[in-house]
Amino acid sequence: AGLGTSSHHGSLHALKQVTLRLESNFHPFVELPEQQQTAVWHLLQMVLFDEEFLVALEQVCDDVASGLWSPQAALAIGGLKAAQQQDLTAFLGLVGCRVQGERPGPEDQISNQKLFATAYCLVSALAEMPDNVASLLGICCKLQMIPTLCYLLHALSDDEISDLEDPALAPLKDTERFGIVQRLFALADINLERMQSSVKAIILRDSQVLPLILCIALSGLDALGREH
């Protein structure tokens, strides 16, 4: 809530601090056995490009977290293809939700609360972003740019400028890649401007929670995809 009312400078500073903290919050992803981490990562890649799947997954996570099964969850699952339902069940199983039947239902229980909460946090952040953000994040995953974007958020100095000569930001020198990142950030109310050898970031004045959600999504994907 503070992001919307503070100055641009303050907003960015707050965002940087949140990013630092998120790194430890998503640690359960890092601790996963490699095979399990890979499986979750691959399923999430599909989620990023499948809006219907993402909506259903968020709805199911909502219901699992609250312990109340809603008609919306049944409707959302019912609207999925059989393969998508299997993937959804597989995802829940991998992130610590013990699924009893062939598809998630009210009888399911959380076997690993911390891991499930971590996954639920990431899924909810992805689902709350505006249209096309998830697919743009998917593109960034394919281009292996998620660590660069996380680093960018870290590196933005107090005067809101990052040096493109920094090797970690090298991918942003590519005009097309920078264009993708610029669009992604713009959808999250962060205006990225490329100058000669630096990048400037400004959080829009009436921005609310979108920059924070982008931070959460990037941090979650970074933690999960670190080995990929």
């Binding site: 490009f49 699992v64 977290a65 609250s66 911390k114 971590t118 639920y120 281009l143």
Partner: protein, 235 residues
């Protein structure tokens, strides 16, 4: 697709964010003025609340069998109109609700009370289409990046069908009939234990139920993820 179109429409016309977009075409018929809606708070602070339409109006769940009828006015906005029970809600004289009570033994309200984190709301305004519209979804491959990945983005457009023409270079088109509700406004109610209630007229005033049931019965242990609380995030 319908949800995207209504959401985008509200971005254009509702700067203050007071209105809520309808996400399902089938819900449109349920949205009558004075009908009851539940607002569910979500687990994470960044999640938008969820709304569920109940099949009853405020008048149906009052202890006294006296129906309420809102005043209405139509505002022409080309293809849209809006009905405001403004006189009913904001006219200054709300004395007609004093001494009225909700029948908390009503089966619908009983079910709302059984749930957690839900607030009872009443529908106070809605935006409806006055003529047939078409939503079209375009999927475009916009550019390539390093020869590796194409960016696929979707754009949703809404157009009124005055001349009967539908845009042809689109992948999917959906027709919205006239008189479809595409957005609505609600007012939260604060309900006391004896069924007396008040409207949350001022900004910052939140509805709910007095002595709301325990909050520790959420299935996912809030402490399991206390690290995610951004309480000390600097302003």
């Amino acid at each position: 697709m319908f949800a995207k179109a209504t959401r985008n429409f509200l971005k254009e016309v509702d700067d203050d964010g007071n209105l809520i977009s309808v996400s399902n075409l089938n819900d449109s018929d349920k949205l009558q003025l004075l009908s009851l809606v539940t607002k569910k708070r979500r687990y994470w602070c960044w999640q938008r609340p969820k709304y569920q339409f109940l099949s009853v109006t405020l008048g149906d769940v009052l202890t006294e069998d006296q129906s309420l009828s809102p005043a209405s006015a139509a505002v022409g906005l080309d293809i849209l109109s809006s009905a405001y029970p403004a006189a009913w809600m904001r006219g200054g004289n709300l004395s007609f609700i004093t001494r009225r009570k909700l029948n908390l033994k009503d089966p619908v309200l009983q079910q709302v009370l059984e749930r957690r984190n839900e607030v009872l709301c009443v529908l106070t305004q809605k935006i409806v289409t006055t003529q047939k519209c078409v939503i079209s979804e375009h999927v475009q491959i916009e550019e390539k990046c390093g020869g590796m990945v194409g960016i696929q983005t979707k754009t949703v457009q809404v157009s009124a069908m005055e001349d009967g023409n539908v845009i042809k270079d689109c992948n999917v088109a959906l027709e919205i009939p006239a008189a479809t509700t595409i957005a609505y406004g609600i007012m939260e109610l604060y309900v006391r234990q004896d069924g007396q209630f008040e409207f949350c007229l001022l900004q910052g005033k939140h509805g709910g139920f007095e002595h709301e049931r325990r909050v520790d019965d959420i299935y996912l242990d809030p402490l399991a993820y206390r690290d995610f609380a951004f309480v000390d995030m600097p302003d």
